[in-house]
Subunit: 293 residues, 2 copies
DNA sequence: TAATTGTATATTGTAGATAAAAGACAAAAT
DNA sequence: ATTTTGTCTTTTATCTACAATATACAATTA
């Protein structure tokens, strides 16, 4: 098959979730906008909903007939894009320490294991190479450099350089810059999470990413922001598979963030640098502890 | 056709150049090592040389019969790898200002213009995206962000951060670290080029790259070194198509490098920072002047 | 016995094909 | 006068196939 209709299936599921508590659906362009898909895909979704007896659909009239049931949803594993499947499968190998640094990576073998075509795997590896974990020998194989202590140190060195600079730049933003409002919002989310930390400590990862991305973005430098992708990517998978002490670590990070946010708001450059360094140091330690050894 | 034999043709031409001034060729593995190719390709080269009457070849005996003539060489445009062709063609569009920032990039159209398959163009674009000049909308087109003033400023900002840090680290290297010997060598090349600047100013670009790469490498940080690739890439094409004032600019840069090298050797951190900043500022100006406007 | 060669096999680089998804535009509806 | 829809076209994502190139291993040579 040439391409899986995962965009359709994934959007269909999201759309089902929004079917409750209303009696009709908005226009096709509006739905496309809402779910981030084209009208072609919206129409495919509407067609299927009609065929399943979920709605009636006649031009502008899209009337909801019944709420969705479990069997209306597509199975979750059919909604992941091929790239996500490859990425997840590959990261599992690397971060759980299955594959030794220095190992050769074989495109065809990897493709076979994952159940994807070689082109897709190849494109994934090219995209992935910017994370510094693999390296290509032209006309020959890839080499796994591995999630090692050196990697963690090099990554955090650059991260600290960039974040200290971005944090310093934060203090110089106009009072009416939208970043201040975002900061308030993020602070609020921190407080809410801390108030119910026992149940919510697992949701920390996306909030962490949101906060640091905001800081990096004020650098106004695409290379700095792009580099934060690398950090976020590594931390994302790290949080997923390294649960040890998650509760303690995350609570500590939340409190450090609040201190950091207060420092930013003070616009005092010395204070910002201090708070930023404190947090970056513990982030580094967290990462280093997660290196397989 | 599935793949062009450019590796073979390019290595064949290099091998022809080494045919003069000797009467026999070394073993197959040795040749493979020398030209960076596999034995399979070495044997293909030897076969053709025999067929063309350049050598006799019987097992270990590879006797050279005659020096190569012009018609023995493959035409130069058959020796460029497909990726180089795509890269060059694409960079020409961007740097000469043909394509406006914000333009959509169409994979199929680009492939047709260049005369390559879509897969190769697609892979090129993925690799190229790390340079920050294009950006992908998933399931849709690429957008050309363009070689703009913002790009030049963001690029140089990071470059300066990284190079100042690497230069500072240079001073802390052991006396017997190989980088010092490399530095001496590079200084010598600078002096030679300056002595005959009128004729040799065009060869500055590779020397420039060699020097800065040496500095960046002592950081021992893969992200810093990888980022220098971006710089080198941009400067490479910039030197190729922007000849204005080349003579003046290059002579000035050579002198700044010599000053910078002397500062590194002094191991005086203040002096290093001064010399490094002086050169980085003029490098930034050079780049900014080359932005189409 | 260590390097080299002959031969067979495995892997990469690239083209071409096709379904999914995006996008364009005129007709229809508010 | 917009917005929405119906229809058609374009483009991307992905698979498969195959020549170029790399790699593995046994046979041969020095």
């Amino acid at each position: 098959m040439a391409r899986q209709n995962t965009v359709f299936k994934e959007a269909y599921n999201r759309c089902l979730g929004d079917l409750c508590g209303r009696d009709r659906l908005p226009s096709e362009p509006e739905l496309g906008e809402k779910y981030g898909i084209s009208r072609t895909t919206v129409r495919a979704i509407l067609s299927r909903m009609r065929d399943c007896g979920l709605i009636t659909w006649d031009k502008r009239q899209k009337i909801i007939l019944r709420p969705p049931q479990d069997q209306d949803y597509f199975p979750e594993d059919e909604t992941n894009s091929l790239n996500d499947i490859i990425e997840k499968s590959f990261m599992k190998r690397i971060l759980t320490g299955d594959a030794e640094p220095g190992t050769q990576i074989n495109e065809a073998e990897l493709a076979r294991d994952i159940g994807a075509g070689t082109t897709s795997v190849r494109e994934f590896l090219i995209r992935f190479s910017r994370f510094g974990l693999i390296e290509k020998r032209p006309n020959s194989h890839w080499i796994l450099k591995g999630f090692t202590m050196e990697f963690a140190l090099e990554l955090t060195e650059v991260r600290e350089m960039f974040e200290l600079r971005s944090a310093a730049a934060f203090a110089t933003l106009d009072r009416d810059h939208p970043a201040w409002a975002n900061l308030d919002e993020i602070e609020q989310e921190h407080l809410e999470m801390l108030a119910d930390i026992d149940n919510r400590y697992k949701d920390f990862s996306p909030l962490d990413e949101k906060f640091h991305l905001l800081v990096h973005k004020v650098s106004g430098n695409r290379f700095v922001v792009d580099f934060y992708d690398v950090i976020a990517f590594i931390f994302h998978y790290h949080y997923q598979w390294n649960k040890a002490y998650a509760r303690t670590r995350n609570e500590r990070a939340l409190r450090e963030h609040l201190d950091y946010i207060a420092a930013l708001r003070s616009r005092d450059s010395g204070e910002i640098e201090r708070a930023c360094r404190v947090h970056l140091r513990s982030a580094r330690e967290t990462l280093m502890e997660s290196v397989p050894h």
